[in-house]
């Protein structure tokens, strides 16, 4: 264990590209804070994707140019953003109507742990004394049909993040559809975790070695 760490396999940008090609034309998409934000840069040309940010904007555009920052135009991570032509603003209850009411097609989130049943832990490290903060994560996983996780395959210490059962406090149970890591793309199915694609130079046995949950190849 640990030979691989996070060095071999796909880069963050390649991971984001894998997610982006799975986003169809016309999709309404919510991107979580951090690595998920990279996805917007890789959507293939010709596809029109509308980005939702839960603080109240549909039609979020890229970062503003220097000097154009507006403190009243931010995303859920409180970063300055822009609004595209055709964007609209709305209040929080309406924003979460879009989320909880199943109107958003895809949400891409980071993870501390994902289980083979698609349970997600991504809001609390479970450390005693830490200030708990949940934001919109639990609403997103409860309301968006397609939850895609983008994450390094193992932790900085080399421990598996894709596990039989999450040890950290859950964000939602059985909610994740796909997992995009630096080593592979996995699909959560009723039969377990199925490998859709592996990074160049990574074999199934090596992938399994870095994964606590049991993996399956599609033919099995």
């Amino acid at each position: 264990m640990g030979v691989n760490k996070n060095k071999a396999g796909w880069t963050k940008e390649e991971m984001a590209h894998h997610v982006a090609v799975d986003i169809p034309d016309g999709a309404y998409v919510n991107l979580g804070i951090g690595m998920p934000e990279l996805v917007a840069g890789f959507v293939p040309e010709g596809r029109e994707v509308i980005y939702h940010t839960e603080n109240g904007l549909l039609g979020m555009g890229p970062e503003p140019q220097e000097g154009q920052e507006d403190p009243e135009l931010i995303n859920a991570g409180k970063k300055y953003v822009t609004a595209i032509q055709g964007a609209c603003y709305f209040h929080h209850a309406e924003s979460f109507t879009m989320i909880r009411g199943r109107h958003i097609d895809i949400c891409v989130l980071g993870a501390y742990e994902v289980s083979e049943a698609g349970d997600l832990a991504n809001w609390s490290t479970g450390k005693p004394g830490a200030v708990p903060a949940v934001g919109g994560a639990m609403d997103l996983v409860a309301g968006v049909r397609n939850i895609f996780v983008i994450t390094k395959h193992v932790t900085k210490q080399g421990n598996p993040k894709i596990v039989e059962n999450c040890q950290l406090p859950l964000t939602g149970k059985g909610v994740v559809k796909r997992i995009y890591t630096n080593l592979a793309t996995l699909e959560v199915t009723p039969e377990g975790l199925v490998v859709k694609e592996m990074a160049k130079g990574i074999g199934f046995d090596e992938l399994q070695e870095h994964t606590e949950a049991q993996l399956k190849m599609p033919s099995q």
Binding site: E54, L57, R100, V134, A142, K173
Partner: protein, 238 residues
Amino acid sequence: MIDKQLPSLAEAVEDVKDGSVVMISGFGEAGSPIELIHALIDQGARDLTIVSNNTGSGHVGIASLIDHRRVRKMICSFPRTTNSIVFPELYANGEIELELVPQGTLAERIRAGGAGIPAFYTPTSVGTPLEEGKEKREFDGRAYVMEYGIKADFSLVKCEAADRYGNLVYNKTARNFGPIMCTAAETTIVQAKRMADLGGLDPEAVVTPGIFVQRIVEINHPLDESKLVSEDWRYPWE
């Protein structure tokens, strides 16, 4: 004649009592009514329950209200951000209560409170530590938890423009919790960047109908919170 505009911030917040429940609009600094919050600090009410998405940054706005030990309890979805110093310290010392609510549940609880709906069911938090103690029920084979509506004694809200009837429009993502908080309080107090004449706001574009607003103070040039935080200002100004 109806004229909800008041000449001063002090008059607008003068009847907030010890123990009041106060909703404060804003997502981070966007939409946070910083002048009204500072007026509330000057006014002196304590033992407050504050309903707001965050706990403020640095030592201004909500963070300053908390720093002055005016807040008994926060009802909040994300109490720590990059520049939140005050709340984490008080929380670690057990000097402030926290009711952690998922963001969409918080919004819907406020909406329900304003709409006369005492409780509702939501799938959010089922199967997580935040479902503890909540009544559960199944609908069409899916589990939901019951959540209560929230009402407040006062809401403090920032908007872009108001007329004297209390009709409001907002600016971009500063709208966030403002419209729902206006509906959920006994007394809604608004700071508007600009007063419009009657008829000056397009009726088709009004976001908050005036019936939900009781008091308005015009603040043409609100403070820039992130600038104050980066320069380490503290309210009251030393």
